[in-house]
């Protein structure tokens, strides 16, 4: 996305929230949904638009796990590492996932196809180990089902 385009998106989001700095978390959620991540230019533009120091925007953007300052892949993979999934073997699923994608947790494949992250619990504990790709929930995962599941995503 062009810098100009990014700035335009930020402007729209800020207007939607009437430049209210108290909803910074919501603003960053919306901007990330538009841009896929929070590039430097976007944080700077948010700072300018709201009249809030960049350091404060940065402090919020880096505190919460949901925000990313790096580009992320088209498909966001969340491997649930909640307790129920843990005791049902999520560690092996995560290892297999890292192996299959050739990246470590928190990284993005070089073709920007997948980003691999963990999530603490999605509350679907009965179906663990749970893997969420985009908006799709894949339950009862095993190292053997990692490959076939990934094949569904282009």
């Amino acid at each position: 996305m062009e810098v100009k385009e990014l700035k335009e998106k930020v402007k729209q989001v800020l207007q939607k929230y009437q430049l209210d700095e108290s909803v910074l978390v919501d603003i960053l959620h919306d901007i990330q949904a538009e841009c896929g991540y929070l590039p430097k230019e976007v944080l700077e533009e948010t700072s300018r638009g709201l009249g809030v120091p960049l350091s404060r925007i940065y402090s919020v953007a880096t505190f919460f796990k949901a925000f990313s300052l790096e580009p992320r892949g088209r498909h966001l993979i969340h491997v649930c590492t909640g307790t129920a999934c843990h005791v049902r073997g999520t560690v092996k699923v995560l290892e297999k996932m890292e192996q299959a994608l050739g990246i470590k947790t928190g990284e993005t494949t070089s073709d920007l196809k997948f980003t691999l992250e963990t999530v603490n619990c999605v509350g679907a504990c009965a179906l663990g180990p749970m893997v969420i790709i985009g908006e799709n929930y894949h339950g009862e995962m095993t190292p053997e089902t990692v490959g076939p599941v990934l094949e569904n995503y282009n």
């Binding site: 700095e21 108290s22 909803v23 910074l24 978390v25 919501d26 960053l28 959620h29 404060r56 402090s59 919020v60 505190f63 919460f64 796990k65 949901a66 925000f67 590492t81 909640g82 307790t83 129920a84 843990h86 005791v87 049902r88 092996k92 192996q99 999530v119 603490n120 619990c121 999605v122 509350g123 679907a124 504990c125 009965a126 179906l127 663990g128 749970m130 908006e135 929930y137 894949h138 339950g139 190292p143």
Partner: protein, 628 residues
Amino acid sequence: MTEVKSNNGNKQRTIYICQGTGCVSGKAFEITEALKKAVAEQGLQGVNTDFTGCHGFCEQGPVAIVEPEGIFYACVTVADVPEIVDSHLRDGKPVERLFYKDPVSGEAIPHHKDIKFYNMQQRIILRNCGRLNPERIEDYMATGGYESLKKCLKEMTPEQVIEEVKRSGLRGRGGAGFPTGMKWEFLRNAVGEPKYMICNADEGDPGAFMDRSTMEGDPHTVLEGMIIAAYATGSSEGYIYIRAEYPLAVKRVRLAIQQSEEKGFLGDNIMDSDFSFQLHVKEGAGAFVCGEETALMASIEGKRGMPRSRPPFPATSGLWGKPSNINNVKSLATVPVIIARGADWYSSIGTEKSKGTCVFALTGKIANSGLIEVPMGIPLREIIYEIGGGIPGNKNFKAVQTGGPSGGCLPESYLDQSVDYESLAAAGSMMGSGGMVVLDEETCMIDIARYFLSFTQAESCGKCVPCRVGTKQMLDILERICRGEGRHEDIDLLQELGKQITAGSLCQLGQTAPNPVLTTLRYFRDEYEAHINENRCPALFCANLISFYILPDKCQGCGICLRNCPTEAIVGDKRMVHVINQEKCVKCGTCLEVCPERFSAVVKVSAEEVDVPSEPIPVTAEKPQTST
């Protein structure tokens, strides 16, 4: 065989599909669509297809219930739809093969009310979950919804409402168990305007999903409880703070707020009274510490979600420095029932000090995973063996973990313990918000302690030293023990660190972080000692302490393990006994999983030598009789 009267066209029949997050991950949306289509194609009169929120029985999902007869279908797939429609909805013959099977007796149970998982529960908070369409306010109103609010506004003063809640004995269901009525009174008496009412729906405990299911399954009860709380406390504005990881709950609560506003239960001059209340949804952004009330408020204010010291308590100086009150989802969901049925009725349930019911997310190594609501004071054994159906796969019970990362692990000797705030705290665990994870003999207790500590360590906001540095030190020690590099002084050191972190941390996250370690040390000290002194993991879990061997008297040289080994650590040939190169082995256990059951040639041991050849040798074992 269950016969149901054939559909004569006059009788209304509704099939409800569960659309909670669990069942949705099992394609509940697709099943609903397929049912609608099939019912329309058949032109069935008087048959409705509808959906509900979470039934709680996630293990059997996706689930469907056909009313009025109350037939319960488990593990439904899209492929089952034609049979359900043709056989049951058209011809009145329920589909037996989709009935729930009792895990102990194997008996097929057609009716929802006869399933032990349900009939041993007492549902107050979850009373409507799975019974109505959460996206229609009319369904909630048909069950007497918003009548309690009406009663409060028309017949009771705010002080009377507070008095009723105090008398009921309701205590905060977020974990700490502070009396809800007292909290409301503090806010009522606080000086300053405006006052804020906040619902804490930042359910961050791993392995807990009670709040999610309540919001997805019956959002209006949470709203009604919150509006009543606002009336009682004199709050004019409120927030529901929901985890961003719960998109479906966010969607349904937003919709419920909109419907409630349209009906005049929210907004200005509610039900023509002079009471006004505005309610907003705030989404979290993935920080566990935001479940702590002062951190939650900082996050609502658009800041880093870091806790601050108390006092001042939120009732004096909360959101934006104004008087505020924070209640958990389940506490608020209980309020409308208390108002409707009275404090005396509510306080008759439970124990002397812990009144009412509690909701648990029962997960881990348990046959019936799901959401349960039971009266306070029920023994753990009843929850695990009667409602939960025991441990699957003929494994032995080892421990039950309650209270999430802040709680502890209780051993078998505590199974007859009553479940209430006081008993669990006395045993070194806690009620917490309601996660209950069952662990079996294959679970290593050091690994579980390490798991929880790695969680709290990662979620520590970093503000205070005992939590930030202390949990890191404890985690390093636990990781060392799991690697087989434990030192003799580690047990004492862990205990000492645990005490310091509990005493010195700013908020509950740090204060309770050592609990999983301290309780496992208390009840499973022998496992720590085995790791440290003997390099042995009794649960055969810790990779550095276990080895896999192929038994020469059982191996048939089939080569399945060799082909599946990810690190090419297995050597062998046709009709040759295979051998694992221990240097190359990464202890993934694949060979054990793939070795055909009739051979069972692979064994897993810890701190044990097994006599095996160093090179492949010809197979001498006789072929098992039961070949396939």
